[in-house]
Subunit: 342 residues, 2 copies
Amino acid sequence: MLAIHWDAVNGWGQPNIKPYGPLQLDPSTTVLHYAQTLFEGMKAYRDDGGKVTLFRPDMNMKRMNNSAKRIALPTFHGDALLELIKELIRLDRHWIPQEPGHSLYIRPTLIGTQRFIGVAPPTEALLFVICSPVGPYYPNGFKPIALYGTTEYIRAAPGGTGAYKLGVNYAPGVLPQKQAAKAGYAQNLWLHGSEHYLTEVGTMNMFVVLRKDDGAHELVTPPLDGMILPGVTRDSVLTLAREHAAGVKRLPNLPEDLVVSERQISMNEIKEASKANRLVELFGAGTAAVISPVNRIGYLGEDLHIPTGKDGMGPISRPIWTELVGRQTGAIPSDWSVVVSE
Amino acid sequence: MLAIHWDAVNGWGQPNIKPYGPLQLDPSTTVLHYAQTLFEGMKAYRDDGGKVTLFRPDMNMKRMNNSAKRIALPTFHGDALLELIKELIRLDRHWIPQEPGHSLYIRPTLIGTQRFIGVAPPTEALLFVICSPVGPYYPNGFKPIALYGTTEYIRAAPGGTGAYKLGVNYAPGVLPQKQAAKAGYAQNLWLHGSEHYLTEVGTMNMFVVLRKDDGAHELVTPPLDGMILPGVTRDSVLTLAREHAAGVKRLPNLPEDLVVSERQISMNEIKEASKANRLVELFGAGTAAVISPVNRIGYLGEDLHIPTGKDGMGPISRPIWTELVGRQTGAIPSDWSVVVSE
């Protein structure tokens, strides 16, 4: 694991790569009381030739610094941390599975470590990075999931922290998820406001595909309005779809009549589209599952069925997923893939 | 310190009172990533005769269990935990200062301790209680504070966790507080919705006193609508004021024409009352400061001045504070004061 201490007087200390082991934390440590914690999730892939790569790690470093600012934890030099993470991965490269869909999950974490029972900007912090081999999210083909359209609880609100990858966004979602599971749904579909705008799915960003009046496909995702996490997978899906739509880089099997929209979309619009047979697909997007197709939404006591392709994915998500995973694993060369070791 | 482990298979383990010392936490421990933490704040007082008391500790036990349910941490037998806390205080009673305004601050904390990088209900938890001597919040008389009427950030929202004493409610407030301090205000006045309803002050509940058309005093605090922390001091202020207003237990020097309202109150209403000379006082209420008078609110670029009494407190807060502190320290006998040791 990698560990770097910080304090308000001396700034960042010497980075230390050391054997994985427990942290010694005083019971008054601020993170244990006031939730001063943030993290990132990244994956390292190893190809057949043994080459190890990361996927768009600069985005994680940038977001991690934004998260730090939001809860008054120290910021850092993103490129320098990335070099240290690469060093850690090179040392741990024998842990990276080479099987298809496998990777090394990397978890950079930053916590407030001041020993002080008072609510204040921490004067001490610890940045640490741990790793764990992970298998594919869907080892036996895609399994579309059912969502519970959640109106009793929120994930985020304007003026809150939904746009940052902070620990505080996660603990409150566990009970709603448990309740959704009990009712037969895999995840919460977080709805916002009296219009019940769709925001996120569980801990993933969300996309909807609609057929427009002229027959074109519209790929819709909520805008980064302060409530939506700026996901790396979200940005990658949008970028691939936009480059395809603009004719800059056409993706195989993706309809050419694609329109990309970052806009609000309400449950009412989803219901109307469904009635009019204009709802094409709906999916979650995130680092863990990459793309997670949805086949059902429980909403105000009724179940709304969402079309899925015959292998679980729809006509828009499938070609985007293929390109995305190709770029992630390095099978499709791109500058999104950053070499850690040859 | 007191420590009790819990796991999903065996339930609560043997309580252990042991010397204060660091916790050994694996870097993957859930509280460090997903903020599965909640706490309470209580005070133990020691009187001239050496008698040690707690103030309404049953309310803390009840609220702590409610907090636990909200983030899927284990609940516990409140009376049993209270007996253990009393035992801890008896062992640490030499730490309780006897000077006026001093007390032993008690911090029960419950954290998720499962070693697992996944968002789920923790299967392991640790409940611990630590103590620290504290002096009076205002050692040299009351100093009224200035508040920054905060519209850029929120503390809570409907469907969120504002009504629970969870760590997640605190980290996001640090940056807004820092910004308020930079602008010359001591704390945030958290406003809600387009009406800018007043909700809380920093980490305290909030009360306003208005003169009504008929000359009566109205003591207003926002209702427990899911966004407001059900504070022990809040409840105590309301109870004392209501018993006085009903004639059940009159408090010395408190105007008899008191009306108690739990209702929403907007910044516009505050401004109008100020203009009409009907704004009597505004104060925060919480375990740390007990009552914290306010003399100024910065709101949308303007400063609104709030009347304060000549020693900082107003005509309603002063007599309530006197009764409350008397009951807390045991100087005024009441069943709110629970004996720990004679």
